[in-house]
Subunit: 390 residues, 2 copies
């Protein structure tokens, strides 16, 4: 198996992009990543794209072929294009398949993209489409939406570990602060704990500022074998681990709803593959679809003792400059959550940080970064580890 | 890269399975394939599933996790599960990703499954969901359905090459005859050329008997490294090539609508990888979503001269016992077309034939078989070649 490097990255602006279609934003991200890598379409061997629900959001499936076509990779080049879906972990899985394609030697230069266009439908239809990430027969039909599902996780976490609404709010406050430093972020406004606590309740105890938004956006990476990466860039970033795990799709079947076993197992596999420990990681992008999700994630990934995620956050240990900066991009909460793009955007952020190009949100001297992308309420988790040196 | 073998196969019954859900039929196919291979879930390293539109047909995305869960592969085993989508080529792409996972050494035992539950929605919603495989903005919104798109291909083929409605009908007659010999086929009734010509017109010149049906069904394969395949079965079947190509998603952008360039390119790549020629192939399952599609396919794959596909069919050269038996399973036309399952079902048929277990539809002495799976009107094509001997 060959080592794999990332040689080009690009995010579009994240937000309500009413003037652009899915094909527009994917082409923008893909072309930008190629420009960043300094290569042309003729060098591309294959394309993987993460997209959760083109069928529901824009009446369009066959997303891989669509993107290859509008990127100019189809007509004469006939580049294989494959869509990968695992709800909100679609982007992370697209990255994983792209890594496997290069590591195995099947392909040399591969694009891993992710995209979602969510604002072309109303909020009720968007909620219904997102609910299709949960168990339709046992959760969706019973009226469980994702805020409701994560509210149950939050309630038990509060009951068992004493986690408070203020600690949940601290996640949002930090991520909005980070988002204010990220040019592509959907929300750049800083907020306070009181802003969160006084915002409308969506599913008790989750206020609207505990929830990630509905977002349009696309992200792309260009991958190459590590041995030739310096041909394209002075700052290749290396993949140290890719790991994926599944869990029950419905929450009620889990061993413990305050721990995402898929995250625990994927992280264990990733640390083992990279021969690294949580203490070695300098920054991490976690899947904060809700504030409680970030608290569970930092516990499940080994950055905080179980039950202490809220305290660690309130102490500032996960802020930029803290012990383990979490979601320097602003996370899903403030940067936005175009569901199929998120897993790729997380990798773009880590690459940008490890290159030392993150501007005002730079984590100084970062050597190792991690991404953590979750599908649904944790039926899929995918963890990647990246490094600055090979 | 390691050689890969198929050690277990299973199709469910194809048809209107109103008493079963998607999760029921996938578990049936997956468990059947494991039983055929004589192994248990604990040996499974990963799962790939082809599914086109769970979001539209059953309000369920996150199909990989769903299937891992209901197959008992999630809770304690945490087996990675990835859904792959490329419209009606979703199954073929799932097989391709599974092959890559084993060939690369990432995984040893991998399940490649495909499934679609299409009859839980009405025919208008089903047509709308299927139209999402075409270019929504340039075809779907202009009212182009798939029968309409393939009717244009048929019209030009007839105009340019003199292909007749009777020759189109011969495809359906043959495939219904083959389907009558296949226990899982949706349609086992034999039909005549007159039956086709007298059936209602769907999109001139395509009658309803020129069209594949709406179908529920699931199929599964178990893959293993060739070196250990004999541990599980006396009759492993070997993968000789996997190849995929893209073309423009909309028909109007093509060089020539009577040739699917994605098929031509994927076939060329597959023959090259396998070091084989069309004359070496003993039987092929092609993507006959419409009768004209089978005629184009046998031309584009090199089994008939361009423009002669209709004549070759009418001559009986593609019948069981003919020069190159095509769609011994009954094809999409008679066996049925659960869109995400089709690419896997084609492989199940070829494996069954190469094992010599195809009963009354057996192609005697078959050594090499091919599958050809298409997404949309040819924006994606994937070709696999299989052999009886390593």
């Amino acid at each position: 198996m060959r080592d794999v490097a990332i040689i080009g990255v690009k995010n579009t602006k994240f937000g309500e992009l009413w003037g652009k279609s899915l094909r527009d934003i994917v082409v923008e991200a893909g072309a930008g990543a190629l420009e960043d890598a300094g290569i042309g379409g003729k060098e591309i061997d294959s394309l993987y794209v993460g997209n959760m629900s083109g069928g529901r959001f824009i009446d369009q499936e066959h997303i891989g072929a669509l993107i290859a076509d509008y990127s100019g990779l189809s007509k004469n080049l006939h580049v294989p294009a494959t869509r990968v879906e695992a709800a909100c972990a679609s982007g992370g899985l697209a990255l994983r398949q792209a890594i496997m394609a290069v590591a195995s030697g099947y392909n040399d230069i591969v694009i891993a993209a992710g995209a979602e266009k969510m604002t072309d439908v109303g909020s009720e239809e968007a909620s219904s489409a997102l609910a299709a990430a949960a168990d339709r027969e046992w959760e969706g039909m019973a009226g469980a939406t994702f805020p409701g599902i994560y509210a149950m996780i939050a309630r038990l976490h509060m009951h068992r570990y004493g986690t408070t609404s203020e600690q949940l709010a601290e996640v949002a406050v930090k991520n909005h602060k980070n988002g204010s430093l990220n040019p592509i972020a959907q929300y750049k406004n800083r907020i306070t704990v009181d802003d969160v606590l006084n915002s409308i309740m969506v599913a008790d105890p989750l206020h609207i500022f505990d929830c990630s938004p509905i977002t349009d956006g696309a992200s792309a990476l260009v991958l190459a074998p590590a041995d030739i990466a310096h041909k394209y860039t002075d700052t290749p970033i290396y993949i140290r681990a890719t790991a994926q795990a599944s869990d029950t799709i419905a929450l009620h079947d889990r061993r413990d709803i305050t721990t995402l076993d898929a995250t625990v197992v994927a992280a264990k596999r990733a640390y083992s593959m990279a021969k690294l420990k949580p203490e070695d990681i300098d920054l991490v992008e976690v899947h904060d679809c809700f504030t409680i999700a970030e608290i569970c994630a930092i516990e499940d990934l080994g950055f905080a003792e179980k039950g202490k995620g809220g305290i660690v956050t309130a102490n500032g240990e996960t802020a930029i400059g803290g012990r383990i900066p979490v979601n320097t991009s602003g996370g899903l909460k403030a940067c936005g959550h175009p569901v199929g793009a998120t897993g790729i955007k997380q990798a773009v952020e880590i690459v940008t940080q490890l290159r030392g190009e993150a501007g005002k949100r730079q984590v100084e001297g970062a050597e190792y970064g991690m991404t953590h992308n979750v599908g649904g309420s944790g039926a899929t988790a995918v963890v990647h580890i990246f490094s600055r040196e090979r």
